[in-house]
């Protein structure tokens, strides 16, 4: 996957294809987007991720030109487009509802934007044919949108938005209306198309799996602000806050107090447990109250007494959910807190002999835990 990391930290902001600078937008006094600054490089597949109402769609609509920022500026290719109407912007959007023109055929829908550009007729025909091939719509050119399946409509919407060869394609929850199986297939199709065209895609989604699968970079939004920007791995392994950690993947959050800090390691005393774990210190201060974040799959579970190396805690199995490839355990710790543990099932019938009510020990290495302040 082409990486577009150059602009993540703003070092090469001048090279950014899209530059969002201090943009804010409020509706009737209620802020929707607050002071967002973000650069996205050419060829990136960028995902705006967040719960509904976090402002991600508003931000996307400001990029498309449907909303005007109250403050800040939006630059595309170095040019300030903040006041440019949508029909003059070098971006195209794929709508969540697809917004296909119901009175036009598939081919006419795809050709609509090309005709507005005033391209010659044969050029339009060529481009439409190309898009029909790309979106695997051959044979459906003369159909109306209501004569198509959900997946076909989705592909028409994609083809229509791509036909003008925009510098940026904006996708607003493009897969939300598809069923699960079709969604997975389409994800790979989208990645394939993006790679082949080398075009910049910006997708808005509330589905963290979708964002993780598709995007080369993710911006997590929360309450109108950009909480964190980074690669999927950065966001997953080094979330900056409890909200980001909770939103991306499954996580156990354990409250406690920081003990002694020695070099890059710190002691951590979880509430209600009489242990002192050694974890990566980060910028933790001795004595500070913090939250320890632990991914369920980074915990090892074993029957009591068979303890491996690393930090440990004891508890009893509350329940075990067999998921096929893995088993999800819920374990009640001695202090009363409940943590979730994923255990890979390498062999058939491999449940490890761990059943409800059994005393267990959980262990994790020092680098598996993250200390979070907020």
């Amino acid at each position: 996957m082409p990486e577009a990391r150059t602009t993540t930290d703003g070092r090469n902001a001048a090279d950014a294809l899209i530059s969002i600078r201090g943009v804010s937008k409020a509706y009737g006094g209620v802020p929707a987007v607050t002071d967002v600054t973000l650069d996205i490089g050419q060829g990136a597949f960028f995902a705006l991720l967040g719960p509904s109402g976090c402002g991600k769609t508003t931000l996307l609509r400001m990029l498309a030109g449907f909303e005007t920022p109250d403050a800040g500026a939006i630059l595309i290719g170095g040019e300030d487009v903040t006041a440019v109407p949508p029909y003059l912007r070098p971006v195209n959007m794929m709508f969540q509802s697809y917004a296909l023109f119901p009175h036009m055929s598939v081919a006419d829908n795809i050709a609509f934007g090309l005709k507005r550009q005033g391209l010659p007729r044969d050029e339009i025909a060529l481009r439409v044919a190309e898009m029909v091939r790309l979106a695997r719509l051959a044979g459906f050119e003369t159909r109306r949108p209501h004569q198509l399946s959900g997946g076909q409509r989705q592909r028409v919407a994609l083809a229509r938005a791509l036909a003008r060869r925009p510098r940026v394609l904006l996708l607003d929850e493009p897969l939300a209306a598809l069923d699960r199986k079709l969604r997975e297939e389409t994800q790979f199709e989208l990645m394939d198309i993006q790679r082949r065209l080398g075009m910049t895609f910006i997708i808005v989604t509330h589905d963290q799996d979708e964002a993780m699968t598709l995007a080369s970079r993710i911006g997590v939004m929360q309450a109108g602000r950009l909480a964190q920007v980074g690669t999927p791995q950065e966001i997953y392994d080094h979330p900056v806050s409890r909200v980001v950690a909770g939103f991306v993947g499954d996580i156990n959050l354990i409250e406690g107090r920081v003990g002694a800090v020695a070099g890059r390691m710190a002691g951590f005393v979880p509430d209600g447990l009489e242990v002192n774990w050694q974890v990566a210190a980060g910028d933790a201060q001795p004595g500070e109250r913090m939250t320890l974040a632990l991914r369920p799959e980074r915990l090892d579970i074993a029957a009591s007494g068979r303890q491996g190396p690393g930090n440990a805690m004891t508890g009893t199995v509350l329940d075990a959910g067999y998921l096929g490839d893995s088993t999800l355990f819920r374990v009640a710790l001695t202090g009363g807190a409940v943590v979730r543990v994923f255990r890979q099932n390498a062999r058939r019938g491999d449940s490890g002999g761990l059943t409800r009510g059994m005393p267990v020990t959980l262990t994790f290495p020092a680098d598996a835990a993250i200390l979070l302040r907020e």
């Binding site: 449907f66 109407p85 949508p86 971006v91 959007m93 969540q96 009175h103 609509f112 229509r160």
Partner: protein, 295 residues
């Protein structure tokens, strides 16, 4: 609901019977009388079918029917021009009502959700006011010493009062005014269901506001445009009250001709023929419109 119950006909029968007896049969009688002749008797036409007179009289009566009235409809210049001006006035009024209707229905459909029922109500309320009174209200506005001329002269826009009342212009104003809500309602209903992202998609693909309107909005609400136009054009073509109150003595509209033929000249057969011709003239565009835009 009643499909499986088998007693659905109990629900269907009463309205069906009523419509057949008090709606369909009267129209068949109009058709029959349009083929009769005026007579100085009660009822004022011949022949009369009398079930008691037997088959022979029935045959004679059948033989007495003729298309003479339709011949007079076509041959009479006055009637001919009455039809023509009815259709022209109705068409002009329909176009004006469409423009005004779009002017209000478009912003109405974009109004804040909680205002929309109030706006719909404001549009419909005038319909609940007597048609007669609404046409009458315009006399005081349009007459030479009326409100409109008074306002225009006070503003210095004109020196002499305009003669609007008792002209075709007044009739068009009155018809547009009276039937405008019938245009607004279907347009609004259609625009309100409209997915606004379709308009955004058009803009996103490079269509300017005017292009979006003509390429997307108008084609998508076409059924509503046709419905609204039919709701204005058809009754307007047969309108009686507005031309009678606001039109001049030379404003010939077929509704007025039917009225005078019926009440003043007591030529019921001719009036029936006039009604049938009017019906076929105004229903043709409706049927064609429906066929082209089903549902």
């Amino acid at each position: 609901m009643a499909r499986g119950a088998g007693k659905g006909w109990l629900v269907r029968l009463p309205p069906m019977l009523w419509l057949v007896v008090f709606y369909l049969v009267p129209f068949l009688i109009v058709a029959k009388i349009s083929l009769s002749q005026q007579a100085a008797r009660r009822p004022p036409y011949l022949p009369v079918f009398d079930p008691a007179a037997g088959w022979e009289a029935f045959g004679a009566a059948l033989g007495a029917l003729s298309f003479d009235n339709f011949v007079s409809v076509v041959a009479d210049d006055l009637i001919w021009s009455a039809y023509r001006s009815s259709l022209v006035i109705a068409a002009v009024s329909t176009v004006i009502a469409l423009v005004l209707g779009l002017a209000i229905a478009l912003p109405m459909a974009r109004a804040p959700r909680r205002w929309q029922p109030v706006l719909v109500m404001l549009v419909v309320l005038p319909l609940l006011t007597s048609f007669l009174i609404r046409a009458y209200a315009w006399i005081a506005i349009l007459k030479p010493e009326g409100f409109l001329n008074g306002a225009l002269m006070a503003l210095g826009l004109i020196r002499e009062p305009l003669a609007i009342l008792n002209t075709d212009v007044a009739v068009v104003i009155g018809i547009v005014y009276s039937y405008l809500p019938f245009m607004i309602l279907p347009l609004y209903a259609s625009l309100e269901k409209f997915d606004p992202s379709v308009l955004e998609a058009a803009a996103d693909l490079g269509a300017r506001p005017a292009q979006t309107f003509f390429l997307i909005t108008l084609p998508m609400i076409r059924p509503a445009v046709l419905a609204g136009s039919a709701l204005v054009f058809i009754p307007a073509a047969g309108e009686f009250i507005v031309p009678d109150l606001l039109g001049g003595s030379d404003t010939l509209m077929i509704g007025r001709v039917v009225w005078t033929t019926f009440f003043s000249e007591r030529d019921w057969p001719l009036a029936s023929a006039l009604a049938i011709v009017l019906l076929s003239v105004v229903l043709v565009p409706l049927v064609l419109g429906r066929r082209r835009a089903p549902a």
